[in-house]
Structure formats: structure tokens, C-alpha cells
Amino acid sequence: MSRQSVAKAHQKIQELSWEPQYHEPVSQYGTDYTFRKAQKKDPLKQVLRSYFPMQEEKDHRVYGAQDGAIRGNMFRQVQERWLEWQKLFLSIIPLPEISAARAMPLLFRTVPNPELHNGQAIQMIDEVRHSTIQQNLKRLYMNNYIDPAGFNNSLRNFQSDYCGTIGRQFAEGFITGDAITAASIYLTIVAETAFTNTLFVAMPAEAAANGDYLLPTVFHSVQSDESRHISNGYATLLMALSDESNHQLLERDLRYAWWNNHRVVDAAIGTFIEYGTKDRRKDRESYAEMWRRWIYDDYYRSYLVPLEKYGLVIPHDLIEEAWNQIWNKGYVHEVAQFFATGWLANYWRIDPMTDEDFEWFEYKYPGWYDKYGKWWENYNRLSTPNGHHPIVAENVDYVYPHRCWTCMVPCLVREDMTMAEVDGQWRTYCHKECQWTDETAFRPTYQGRETPNMGQLIGKREWETLYHGWNWADVVSDMGFVRDDGKTMTAQPHLDLDPKKMWTLDHLRRMPPVQSPNVLLNEWTPEQRDAFHADYIKQGPAGRPAPADD
């Protein structure tokens, strides 16, 4: 269509929306925000007449690339270290995508501007697109990559695994609770506007550097829909800002959403990019460098800060604190180390780090070797079964961490750990901000104001609880992370596929049973708990026990 006819078409389809005269549409989701019905300038931007062919054209490119990759034997040059982490990533991401689709109707009744609903419906189908195109990519990996284990059981794995559970927040946070908190602030203003850059741009670039050019093809195609979604969110945010009484809730929700996204996305994507790559050229950007550019500069400085003039209270302190976590407190390194510690509870193989990796880490993160080098040398030493336990049950100067009740990532930056009795249960948190999310934000009142629509944190949020007292072999088979011989584990702490080098359930039988840190915490006396806390915050970095000086 010519530009003039596109403009006319936009204009015309605005005639489609109408106000009910007889019955209001059903109202199924609540919000504590208030929106005034106002004639919104934002037109129905998407004309399906051009949308469908545009998307079909993108599909041609994606599927053409997939055919080409198979014909060109792409998997002969794909790095296994990289593709193994895709077993985790591609098990998680189709759910957030489809949840974004499901989230759209949360906004229909709560934001009473029909002009926005059309764009939200198109976002709905975009997200169905993303979810199925990603399931399809994973299927292609399963069919063509050397080791299908972990891909073939993907969605069962994801649902029973603690890493999957951490990732699930990035989906369930979109579809429940206060409709605006979920579908607008958490999903659109923070997850899509800030963090899709690392998910769909930074990560695919790393894939290409590891011989996989299909992930970039698919995810750039996904990302090309994101700018429309970001505009949907922006329009809603401006409307929310126009009502003073929303400012307090916006401040709350931005704090929660920002911090949770940081905790979850930086943990996962940071690990994939730093520990899942074989590209150790010194001029390639580290995750920290990418974060600084894309999240700090592009999102924070260029998107959030200008909104201050409309009265948005920006959590400057938390943005600086997220950076502090990544740059000074080794957040990503601590997470990667924990994933590798717990390799046996997962469903992908984790390659040990080599001298070349050490050198790169030291160059990008000065001081890295002193903190993490020894531990990764131990990981390497213990990677093939040879009469010893998996690393989690060996003495390598690592204290198994407690889990954060809120973000469910363990409390890895030990000095930040906080503890509180909430809802009759003692809980540990990775950071005071996560404690605030549970204790203060997700509650029916906030700063003295009624917030009856705010959601709740629910579920069995500590994975270890389910397996308290279990033998590790039973844990792994209960979760289903076992290969088709009935005993070789899906996960391995190395990439060698020689069956003699692979761990089996038999190797796990001799290990001490799983103990749930949270169950223990609640069994202790107050004195024991205080002593535990005092000790915990002196631990680290790299999970080291507290120095024994006092």
C-alpha cells in the first residue's frame, strides 16, 4: 500500500471500535490503578492487510535459513558448549512468549481505551508466533544436533527443574495479579522494553560466534515485533501517568519489576553469554559491557529517565544496584558457579572452563581468577566419575546456598542475604529488595493504601523442599533427567559423550541425602538462626565458607 493509503487505512479502521449500549464486556481482572476514559491520539496502528504479508515474508526468511543450515551441515561447526545451554533457554522461553499472548486481555477492561486494544490483540498473535517458532527451532536442534537429550524431554524438564522455576517468573508475572502491574509494567515496560535486548539481540550474537546462525535468524525475527509491543506499553504508561493517584503504584511496580527482571534475566542470559561461549577474543564484549550499553544507556538513560518529566519515579538506586551486582559483586559469575555446582539437578551438559577461558575472564573482570579460578579447576578435576562424588558433595570450599524466597535464585552474594519471618515461615532473600517484594509489594495494602488487586507469591518456592531427605539418584529419576538406557544422566559436567565417562544414577546412590535449607532454617532455634545469618553474610565470594577468625 502507498503511504497515503496506509494513513487512510489507519484512519478508517478507527471506526471499528464502539462503546457497548446494552451489556458491558465481562470484567475478569482487577487493577488498583485508575484510568480515565480519554480520547487517545494513538490510532489503531496495525492494519492486518499489511501485517500478515509482512510476517509471512519474515517467515520465508526464517524457514529458508533453516533449510540452508541443514543442507550446509551447520551442526558440524556448532559449539556443544553453547548448544547445551540452549536446552535450558529454549525450554524456558516459549512459555514467557505464550504468556505474553495470554496477558493481553488483562488490559482490555482495565485500560478503557479501545484504540489500544487492537494493538494488544496483534501483540497476542505475535506472541503465539514467537512461542511456536521457538518450539520449532528447538525441534530442529533436537533432530540435528549430536545430543538430543534434554531437548527431547524439554517441557517436562523445564517444569520440574529449579532453573525452569526461576525462569517461569518471567511468564507468570505477566498473567496474574494486578492487571497493570503484570501485563503492562512487568511485561511491557520492563521485560520487553529493557530485557528483550539481552535476550533476543545479545544472545543471538553470541550464538553466531559459536557457529549457530539459526538462533539469530529466529530471534531477530522475533525481536522485530518487539518495537510494536513497546509502543503498546508506552501508550498505556503515559495514560497511567496522567493520573496522579497512580504514581505511587507505578513506583512500586517499577521497583519490583526491574529488580525481578534483573535477578532472573541477568542470571540466565549472563551465564549463557559468559560461560556458554567459546569465543574468547578479547575484543568481544562481555555481558557486563553489553549490559552497560543496552540496559543502562539505551533503556535507563534514553527511555526511563525522560519519563521523569511526566512524574514517573524512577528507581535510580536499583538500576545502580543492579550494575553494582553485575560489575562489583560478580552476580553472573556466582550464578554460573551455582548452576555448575548443581549440574546433576539439571538437564544439559556444562563444559568445564579452560585456561583460555580463565585468561579471558581475568582480562574482562580483573580479579576473577582469585575468586573463581580454583573452584573451576576443581570442577574440571571432578568432571568425570572416578570414585568421587559430583562436586556438590565434595569439599571444594563451597557452601551450598539458601534460596531467595522471592526470585528463587539462591542467595549467592552472601553479604546481601536477609532473613525474615513472613506468613509464619522463616524465609531467606538474596537481597533486601527481594525481601521488600515479598513483605511489602505483594500485599493487599501498600504504604497504608488499599491494594486489593495486588497478586500473591504462591507455590512451593524452594525446590529442595520437595526432595528433603531424598537420595540424589531418586531425585534425578523423579524429575526424569535420565537417558534411554534408564541410568545414564541427561546432565553431565563435561562434554565427553563416551558412555564410560558419563555419570549414571549409580554414581549418585552413595551421596548424602538432599537437605532443604529452608526446612532446616525453620527447624532451628532463634539463636541457631541468628548464628547462621551472621555466618552466612561473611561467606563468599565464590561461595567460600566464612573466615574462621572469630
Binding site: 465481562v26 486481555p105 511456536t132 520449532n136 537429550a149 517441557l155 517444569q159 557457529g211 541427561t490
Partner: protein
């Protein structure tokens, strides 16, 4: 948003990470093994759809993590009063040392539903792009051959008001019934099928609106705003409008889909599109409108009704709750058939608006009623007495 930047890539290295390069446990286990396919071999559609939306009865060992203010998360089964076998079994209990296993697949009958259209990204965009091309081409051809000049004045009025009014039905239901329902059903198979249905209706609304725009440009006497007047004020349209609004006010997602796709569309949508517009247009020199409206009819009859039928066939022949479901659906049939027939009857005066009359209203209504009765019998349901109204 940051635009992707080209990044330099290191030299490729030979890794031999190709399928079949080595033999080891699982080395040839190359299918998704967490669900049972509906047929012997699992389909591409199933692979990209099944179990993406989790269920605590399956593998979701830690349960839903975020809830609404009442503490309920995910996709509660009681968002519809219909039940599929297994629905009454409680979610597996989790406690210290409970382990994480749920019920064996599929745990409830809900997970047995498959969209017979097998819609996912590839099929969806291919189908709708073809529709767009076809519609555009028909309109372009008509414009070039000056086809609109043959329309008589009463037919121009008929199209601007009545065909125009229907765009509002498509748009309103597309958003507030179908898109709304995509948050409600307990499986990904249901919700994806429903979201595709939603897009058919929204696209169809836009097809009609943009067709209306073309007609405004091509026919000097065509009033591009008349559809608003008809929708807002014509007494003939108020029954349709009230019923459409009532449909969007339905809380139960099964009721909403059933009432719209099994009752309202067959009795009102097909009556208007197939029995009126498709028959009246050619007699009044219009060979274009039927191609636009025909596309919507095809969406409904060949695709949306198809998945709906599969969805409700499972529920009315459910091994545990067939009777429960049929009893409830019979109630819906009474209510919505009465409303739909009333809406249809209110439309009757527009049958006499064109110069060359279409077949009689009563004949058209009889035709859709008998199609409707056949559909109900496929679904093992009885014809409600309200159909006689």
C-alpha cells in the same frame, strides 16, 4: 529497542556436533517424549503446541508461582463449569519430601484436545496472507473493471449500512470474546486455537472496513459513515448488537465460545452472510461483496467451526462428565438460541431493502436452522425448543 548490530564472528571450527556422529545413551531419541500424540505419530503442530502451557497435574512440581489477589494462579479449571475427565482429582500435594511427580499424561481430558486445523505460526501466517492477497486482488479487479458502476442506488445503501454494520460484530467479538478467552482455557491447544479465531474476526472486521473505504472512494454516492448510524441506531441491527454485547459479557469461556461459534454464528452470522448477502448481491449486480463476505464465511465454516466442533465433541462424549456437560450445554442452548433467533428476526426488514429481492427470510432462516440442527446432532446434543421461535 536496540537494533541488532553485526558482530564479528570467529573463524568456524570443525566440531562434528552433528546428529549421528557418535553413539551413546539417547543418541537417537529424537522426538519430544513428554506427551502422547493423538495419532500414532506426533504431528509438527503437536510438537510446537503441546505442554507449552504447563499444568500442575503434570510436571509442574513447584506449582504456579504467582497468583491473583485470591491466591490462585495459572489457569483454574473452574473458569468454565464444563468438566473433562480427571477434572475433579485434586492437584498433587507438595510438601517436604513429597517429590515432584504428578499424574500420568494427560491427567485430564482437557489435554486430549487437538486443533484439527493444526494452526501454528507457519500455517497461520500463510493462510491469512493468502486471504489478504485474494481480497486485495478481488477489489483491485473490480475497481479496474468499473464493476461498482453497475450497482443500483438501493444496493449501495444496503452495502453501506448492512454489510458495514457487520464489521462491528466481527471487531467486538474478535477482541472482547475471542481474544479475551485466550487467557482462560486450561491448555495451550485451546488457547492457541481461540487466538487464531480471534484474529480471523479482527481481520475480517478490517477487511470490511477497508472495503468500505474503497467503496467510498469509488462510488460517489457511497456514504462511508452510514455503517456507524446503522450499528448505533437502526432498529434492525439492535438485536444483533445486543446479542453480540451479551456474548462479550459471558464469564465462562466455554459458554462464550459455544454460544458464539455453535449458536450465534450459525444462526445469525451464516444467515446474514450466506443466506442474505451472498444471494442478494449478484441479483443486484454486485459480484465483489460476496468474495469479501465469502472469505469470512470460509474462516468460520471451514476453520473456526471445525476446531470448535472438535473441542465440544470431546466434552459431550467425555468418559466421566458427558452428562454433566450436556446438561449445562442444554441450558446454554435454550438461552442463546432464543437470543440468536430474536436477533435474526429483528434483522428481517433488511431483506426487503434491495431492489432485486433475495430468497425469503423464512427460507433462509429454515436453511440455517437445519444446518444448526445437524451440527447439534454431531455434538450429541438435542435441538432446543427455542429454535422454533
Amino acid at each position: 529497542m536496540t537494533t541488532p548490530q553485526e558482530r564479528s564472528v570467529p573463524k568456524p571450527v570443525f566440531t562434528d556436533a552433528e546428529a549421528g556422529a557418535k553413539t551413546f545413551p539417547d543418541s537417537d531419541s529424537r522426538r519430544y517424549n513428554y506427551f502422547t500424540p493423538a495419532k500414532r505419530k506426533q504431528s509438527h503442530y503437536e510438537d510446537v503446541t503441546v505442554e507449552v502451557q504447563p499444568d500442575p497435574r503434570h510436571y509442574l512440581s513447584q506449582g504456579w508461582l504467582y497468583g491473583f489477589s485470591d491466591g490462585r494462579g495459572g489457569y483454574p479449571l473452574d473458569w468454565t463449569v464444563l468438566k473433562a475427565w480427571g477434572s475433579d482429582r485434586p492437584e498433587p500435594e507438595r510438601y517436604p519430601g513429597s517429590g515432584g511427580k504428578g499424574y500420568d499424561w494427560p491427567a485430564t481430558g482437557w489435554h486430549e484436545f487437538r486443533d484439527p486445523n493444526e494452526e501454528w505460526e507457519l500455517t497461520f501466517y500463510r493462510y491469512n496472507s493468502n486471504v489478504v492477497r485474494q481480497v486485495n486482488q478481488n477489489i483491485d479487479n473490480a475497481r479496474q473493471s468499473k464493476a461498482f458502476e453497475q450497482w443500483n442506488q438501493n444496493w449501495v445503501k444496503f452495502v453501506e449500512r448492512n454489510v458495514g454494520a457487520w464489521m462491528h460484530v466481527d471487531h467486538g467479538l474478535g477482541l472482547y470474546l475471542y481474544a479475551n478467552a485466550n487467557r482462560r482455557a486450561p491448555t495451550n491447544m485451546h488457547n492457541n486455537a481461540i487466538s487464531v479465531n480471534s484474529m480471523h474476526r479482527i481481520r475480517s472486521a478490517q477487511d470490511l472496513a477497508l472495503y468500505n473505504l474503497t467503496l467510498t472512494e469509488e462510488i460517489p454516492s457511497f456514504d462511508g459513515q452510514a455503517h456507524l448510524e446503522a450499528w448505533n441506531n437502526d432498529p434492525q441491527w439492535q438485536g444483533v448488537r445486543e446479542t453480540a454485547e451479551q456474548l462479550t459479557a459471558t464469564d465462562d469461556w466455554c459458554e462464550a465460545i459455544f454460544a458464539s461459534n455453535v449458536i450465534f454464528e450459525p444462526l445469525v452470522g451464516e444467515l446474514f452472510r450466506s443466506q442474505l448477502v451472498q444471494h442478494a448481491a449478484p441479483r443486484n449486480g454486485d459480484f465483489v461483496t460476496p468474495t469479501i463476505v465469502g472469505v469470512a464465511e470460509y474462516d468460520f465454516a471451514e476453520r473456526d467451526l471445525r476446531y470448535t466442533r472438535a473441542m465440544f465433541e470431546l466434552l459431550t462424549s467425555d468418559r466421566e462428565f458427558a452428562d454433566h456437560n450436556k446438561q449445562i450445554i442444554n441450558g446454554w442452548l435454550s438461552t442463546w438460541t432464543a437470543r440468536s433467533i430474536a436477533a435474526a428476526r429483528a434483522l428481517q426488514p433488511i431483506w426487503s431493502q434491495p431492489d432485486s429481492k433475495p430468497p425469503r427470510f423464512e427460507d433462509g432462516l429454515d436453511a440455517v436452522k437445519s444446518r444448526f440442527a445437524a451440527l447439534l446432532s454431531d455434538l450429541h446434543l438435542d435441538v432446543p425448543k427455542e429454535l422454533g421461535q
